[in-house]
Subunit: 253 residues, 2 copies
């Protein structure tokens, strides 16, 4: 296989173990450009920065490798990478992650990792987000290595199916049972706030919450993770509920 | 019709003309709770704040009306509103906007206005986002009044169809021709950056770009706006490309 051009980013920041692990795997397949946030950006969703300037800094450069940190969000990183490193032609692949924490189910909506994937997909770059179902930066990622390697290799060789990008979630387990193509489980965060008093007597609030899965059906990403499988969900960016268009006709009268 | 409980937010900030206009229309139909950002939050996407505390301030309170500003993102505002004002039961409707700028087509992905709508929808609140196809805060919103009123009234009376929320975009025109149920047009932002030098000799970058519509097909939100119609797109939050699941089976081998 001809060496490819691969763009790598994440939302935990350029120094997080997850992106170092992903860089290490991806190096086998191509020339690498890393543009990742200079600080953690979890929960930034698809935020972009247009009211403030962005800064970018080259951290490392060698023959087949260049790495930058960027002051912006994961989506800013993708846009910046296209501008500084891929003006003439787009990369063959973007990989984002490995995120420290699950982006299965509804978490995709809040995820900076997956926002970068979706941004690259909008710009017609084949793109994959990888997330580990554990928030700890000390979690051993090695059991996932052969599977991440296989997914990258297969997609580079066989191509990404049309009009999708991939949300890949990895179970936190010593032994992984395999890969399951899955659908996004229906779930939500049940939030609350800690109401606290600051030293000057003012109220402030910390967001807290727990994840609630309503969807006990078959074939979900959450079920795959629970069974010890890697969940691969094909993601589309057309949010139109085509099947519901008829049911809204009353608004046209 | 029994008076309803209506939650209102936006991403341009609590003092933007668009939200004042929306409040004025919605007051007819119910008791109002406003929780909106204390500063502009355009382009924040579905960002949430969990690494910093949030502050909230009551600006106005009367018998059927209460208004708060919140230091967080539009999604934070929805979560905060549920916590402080709707602990016992959820509002009958969330309306977000009127945004100063289009959220048609791919803009929904970047939009704080629509992120608030999607957040409310995740929590099973019927929800509608309204956006005006003009960035100017001086744009006359009056031509849209009867249409916004009708959409709110119809949805409160007839109910929101299952599993969707609404993305409503309004043409910038003195005369609006009507309402069209539409699909999300395929488009992208072609970005670039202004590369500038600060007074200390450092490089910084400003994001710029133009909107490029690839989709010349029928029935899109962009086409409806161009024809002088209000575009109503039913939005779903299951991002799974169900039709593409089979084409990925090779990853399971």
């Amino acid at each position: 296989m001809k060496r490819k051009k691969i763009l790598i980013t994440n939302d935990d920041g350029v120094f997080a173990p997850g992106i170092r692990f992903l860089i290490d795997i991806a190096k086998e397949f191509g020339d690498i450009v890393v543009v990742a946030p200079d600080k953690p950006q979890s929960g930034t969703g698809h935020a972009i920065t247009f009211a403030d300037p962005l800064r970018i800094k080259c951290i490392e450069e060698s023959e087949n490798y260049v790495e930058y940190s960027c002051s912006g969000t994961p989506v800013d990183c993708v846009k910046m990478a296209e501008y500084i490193a891929f003006k003439d032609h787009l990369p063959d692949l973007l990989v984002s992650g490995v995120n420290h924490g699950s982006n299965a189910s509804i978490n995709i909506i809040y995820s900076g990792t997956m926002a970068a994937v979706i941004e690259a997909h909008i710009d017609n770059i084949p793109s994959i987000g990888f997330s580990m179902n554990s928030y700890s930066h000390k979690t051993d990622l090695e059991p996932a290595r052969p599977f991440i390697r296989k997914i990258i290799k297969d997609i580079l060789e066989k191509g990404m199916p049309a009009d999708i990008c991939l949300n890949v979630n990895i179970p936190h387990a010593e032994q992984i049972n395999g890969i399951r193509i899955s659908r996004q489980a229906k779930a939500s965060w049940k939030e609350s706030f800690d109401n606290r008093i600051d030293p000057r007597g003012g109220h402030y609030y910390w967001l807290t919450g727990h994840f609630h899965v309503e969807d006990q059906g078959e074939g979900t990403d959450i079920k795959a993770l629970a069974d010890g499988y890697i969940a691969v969900v094909p993601i589309q960016i057309d949010l139109t509920a085509h099947g519901a268009m008829k049911s809204l006709k009353f608004l046209e009268d």
